[in-house]
């Protein structure tokens, strides 16, 4: 599809240049003229073009479905009872239904990034022109768009070139979404293959969005030393006017900062942000301050600190207007996708809108012009701030305690809390004057206020929690390394060998949302553990923020301790959610920049390379959204495993390998064509861990790859065994599956392991040049 769609044929054209007859050309082909790499087999792949590869993965990593409901309610034939082996009125089975829901989520996620990219690219073109060159990394980057090159087989050079990529993405998502219609695809594996397709498209669109904004807004260009920026409640100077931006699409925030700059107000106003817009504006200007991830919305608005709130799109609480109204904070909605029911004042003069905000006759406006938003936000904040009345409720500890006394101990709050936190006990203690338990709850609270919704006494539970934890809140002031964007080609060249040979034990990417089962600290601990073990730690989005909101005894955040380089022991914040494309991009670039495989339109071969050689693992500990689902899907299609927290089981299915099924773990040896047993590496493609301890052991385990050299494998095993011993107790029971030859055995544990191998009847095998693609077995690999 893709390029074909934008073939253009003109019979006759009169322009100022003269008349042309019968001109035919294709934009896609033009763009490629300057690129000599030969086209691979699947440029712009259709929704089934990579089905063969998907089935290869899915044969090994079978879906284990965990229905989140016994029913299907997607059409008016329903609801249909799908328990037992019942089929719905359309014939669908429970497994089909679950994978259909996964597909729906992946479509929503991919559509969200694609639409975000579309809006951003359209805006940037209108501002910078379609010829604005793409430059995500200056001289240090030659492969500027690994996902786009790999998937689409084109090499985008300007903002305008990105449009055809988005056309393709939109077409694909549309076809995938259509597949979820009642009476379309019902085969679970075909639906799963479509999920993988959605994920792949998602990474393409994320890449579009991020390289567009990096290029046009001059965000850090693959800079390992991007600035350290402020993060945390306590970092805000509340004496100044305060603007709050929430969401994922940065233009309004950029315009706010530009307006300040142009009017010499840069030091006078605090621009604070939540979620990815916060990350992206801190990439634009290190003066911007990040409050925290998604879960900080309620507590920050209720603090009464912001003087105006600007929301764009995605991950914004839909009740932001209600909460803001209680605090009398005006709200500006700036995205067509999130209008909040506000009146469209795009064409009204800024003066009028500011005046309405100040005199309180308007509590919000929908304004589709980022520049105007910038002006209005700044002017409103400046004018409101001096008269700002803090509305914090309850106003004092005493008032809070009085409120807590209303509690009847009905436990409905706890039964509404996704983390089953012991709220009633804590409220009881608080009512007696002891804020300790409630303050503890703050540490694992995801700020969803479901507890408040459930409380029949209308106790503002979340407000009490933040009241009890006020000291902690005020103390939240940390440093985050601004999102650096892509990974440099040179970094890839340097680590490519050690990674592929297994001598850097792995790349661990902590990504995704903040639906943590036990607080954000766990995430920071994990990141630190693996950085200390000299894995390459990558991060993005809410996870990147969370990792920054932690300090050691010396008061330093991980970003102040570990370098931002893509190297062993680095903690690499690539940026916002859309920057995730640089993580998949790095894996792809290992295949291309380091291993010199052809990239262009050559998805299957590259994925096979990554799956068998690049010991990367994604960890989405608080994965919550549909975007998180599509991001994960994109990693899966590249054969990169993803670990989620316990809430991740609500995504309806895992993709689990069976280490005990020996027949599943054969690969072709590209050198000999033989099939070789390589053990369960990586064992799973999508798996939920119950606790951070389990997650850490899993990370170490899932970094193993068939291509590991013995030195590499021994190193990886050392980490795996060490973590297992420390966190789970005793040696792991499956070591024999990961030792291929005697040389794989970590020297320090040689005897013990040899004894185990003996018990298990272990047999030595060979280390192949691994591939899952049958046709590749006869080709010689470089």
């Amino acid at each position: 599809m893709g390029t074909k769609d934008i073939n253009i044929s003109i019979k006759e054209l009169e322009t100022e240049l003269g008349q042309i007859r019968d001109l035919k050309f294709s934009v896609g082909r033009l763009v490629q003229e300057s690129w000599t790499e030969p086209q691979g087999p699947t440029p712009f792949p259709s929704i089934t073009a990579l089905r063969g590869w998907d089935m290869t993965l899915l044969k090994r990593y079978r879906p284990f479905y965990m229905p989140f409901c016994d029913l299907c309610c997607l059409c008016t034939f329903g609801k249909c009872d799908l328990t037992g082996d019942k089929k719905g009125a359309c014939g669908i089975t429970m497994s089909g239904q679950q994978s259909r829901i996964v597909l729906l989520a992946a479509c929503i996620g991919a559509a969200t990034h694609t639409s975000h990219a579309r809006e951003l690219v359209t805006h940037l073109i209108s501002e910078f022109g379609e010829d604005e060159p793409l430059d995500p990394g200056g001289l240090s980057i030659e492969v500027e768009a690994p996902n786009i090159r790999l998937v689409c087989g084109v090499k985008p050079e300007t903002l305008g070139d990105l449009e055809q990529v988005l056309d393709y993405a939109e077409e694909q998502i549309n076809a995938l979404l259509a597949s979820t219609h009642t009476g379309q695809e019902g085969n679970p594996l075909d639906l799963e293959s479509k999920v993988l397709h959605a994920g792949m498209i998602d990474h393409v669109s994320m890449e579009v969005a991020d390289i567009a904004q990096i290029s046009a807004y001059r965000l850090p260009k693959a800079d390992p030393e991007a600035a350290l920026v402020d993060i945390g409640f306590g970092a805000v100077d509340t004496e100044k006017p305060v603007i709050l931006v929430i969401g994922h699409n940065v233009p309004p925030a950029v315009e706010i900062m530009d307006f300040m700059q142009d009017n010499d107000l840069a030091g006078d106003i605090e621009v604070t942000g939540i979620c990815c817009t916060a990350i992206d504006m801190s990439r634009y200007s290190p003066r911007a301050k990040i409050i925290g991830p998604i879960s900080w919305q309620i507590r920050y608005i209720r603090s009464g600190i912001p003087d105006i709130i600007v929301v764009d799109e995605q991950c914004i609480r839909t009740d932001v207007l209600d909460e803001a109204r209680l605090q009398k904070i005006p709200v500006i909605a700036t995205s067509e996708k999130n209008c909040l029911g506000l009146p469209d004042r795009t064409r009204d003069p800024a003066d009028a809108i500011v005046a309405d905000f100040i005199n309180g006759s308007a509590d919000g406006a929908f304004i589709l012009d980022p520049e105007k938003v910038g002006e209005i936000a700044v002017r409103t904040a400046m004018q409101i701030a001096p008269h700002r009345k803090r509305q914090k409720v309850p106003r004092s500890l005493e008032e809070g305690i009085e409120e807590a006394k209303k509690c009847t101990q009905c436990r409905l709050c706890r039964r509404a809390c996704p983390n089953d936190l012991h709220i009633p006990d804590a409220i009881k203690a608080f009512a007696r004057g002891d804020p300790g338990m409630l303050s503890d709850i703050y540490d694992s609270c995801v700020g969803c206020i479901r507890c408040e919704q459930a409380c029949q006494q209308d106790i503002k539970i979340h407000s009490l929690i933040t009241l009890a934890a006020e000291g902690k809140l005020r103390d939240e002031s940390f440093k985050l390394r601004a999102g650096r964007g892509a990974i440099q080609d040179i970094e890839i060249r340097q680590v490519g060998g050690p990674i592929v040979l297994g001598e850097i034990p792995g790349i661990v990417a902590f990504v995704g949302c903040a639906n943590y089962p036990g607080g954000g600290q766990e995430l920071a601990e994990m990141a630190i553990e693996f950085a200390n073990r000299r894995y390459i730690v990558c991060t993005s989005g809410c996870a990147a923020m969370t990792i920054g909101m932690y300090r050691n005894e010396d008061g330093k955040s991980p970003y102040e301790i570990y370098p931002g380089n893509f190297e062993a022991g680095g903690i690499v914040n690539v940026g916002s959610c859309v920057s995730n494309a640089h993580i998949s991009g790095a894996a792809i670039k290992i295949a291309s920049v380091f291993a010199r495989r052809n990239l262009r339109g050559n998805y299957q071969e590259i994925a096979d390379y990554v799956h068998n050689r690049v010991g990367a693992v994604g960890v989405a500990w608080g994965a919550m959204s549909q975007k998180a689902a599509s991001i994960a899907s994109g990693f899966w299609r590249l054969g990169i495993p993803v670990i989620v927290g316990p809430h991740g089981t609500k995504y309806r299915r895992m993709l689990l390998g069976r280490s005990d099924h020996e027949e599943d773990w054969y690969v072709y040896d590209a050198r000999t064509g033989e099939e070789v047993y390589v053990g369960p590496v990586p064992e799973h493609l999508f798996v939920a861990a119950e606790t951070k301890e389990e997650a850490m052991v899993m990370i170490a385990k899932l970094c193993m790859r068939p291509n590991d050299t013995s030195r590499g494998r021994a190193l990886k095993l050392t980490h795996y065994i060490d973590l297992h011993r420390r966190l789970i107790g005793a040696m792991p029971g499956d070591i024999h599956r990961f030792v291929r030859t005697g040389a794989d055995i970590p020297i320090t544990m040689k005897e013990e392991i040899l004894r185990i191998l003996d018990e298990k009847g272990w047999k030595e095998t060979v280390i192949p040049d691994p591939t899952l693609i049958a046709r590749q077995k006869t080709e010689q690999q470089p």
Partner: protein, 178 residues
């Protein structure tokens, strides 16, 4: 009695767990089972029941009626501290995935389990995992021994107090002795 999910929104149905109204029910199921397995999640190491932890009760249960034990997450460490070696250490989704396979030979390699007893997993994770088994392991019976209603198990307590829970657990363990 209309048992309700502990987390209010985690409604299930139409297929829902029968309530273990008295310990004899669990008892009888365990006795009847040929190859039961007990899956113990990390929360079992945290819950205080009188002067002991939940995990201590579970060790008693496993020992006295010779149920194979799978420790998920880092629960294994707590077992080992108590000088009890679980038969397998596995993630919760891993054991569930295997239990759903009628050809799996069990933690000891001697044949498929016919009963899986779950306890100590986070509520929502137990909910989803038991749902997986409810739908995709028709050959397997499941019991939840947490003190909250788990609609996707075959049998579950309703939301009961700690006191009742202790009484029930003791009774089940005790009965198995006889």
């Amino acid at each position: 009695m209309s048992p309700e999910s502990w987390l209010t929104a985690e409604v299930a149905g139409p297929k829902k767990a029968s309530v273990i109204t008295k310990p004899e029910i669990a008892d009888a199921m365990i006795k009847r089972a040929k190859r039961p397995v007990l899956v113990v999640g990390n929360i079992a190491t945290e819950i205080d029941l009188e002067d002991r932890k939940l995990i201590d009760y579970l060790i008693d249960l496993a020992k006295r009626c010779q149920i194979k034990v799978v420790a998920t997450a880092h629960t294994n460490a707590a077992f080992l501290e108590r000088d009890f070696a679980p038969d397998a250490v596995m993630s919760a989704v891993d054991i569930a995935n295997r239990l759903a396979d009628p050809d799996w030979k069990g933690v000891d390699g001697e044949g498929a389990h016919d009963l899986a007893i779950f306890v100590g997993l986070p509520y929502q994770m137990a909910w989803t995992i038991l749902s997986g088994l409810k739908h995709f392991a028709p050959h397997l019976k499941t019991i939840s021994l947490d003190n909250v209603y788990q609609p996707n198990a075959r049998w579950s307590f309703s939301n009961i107090s700690i006191k009742d829970w202790i009484m029930n657990l003791k009774s089940i363990i005790g009965n198995q002795e006889t």
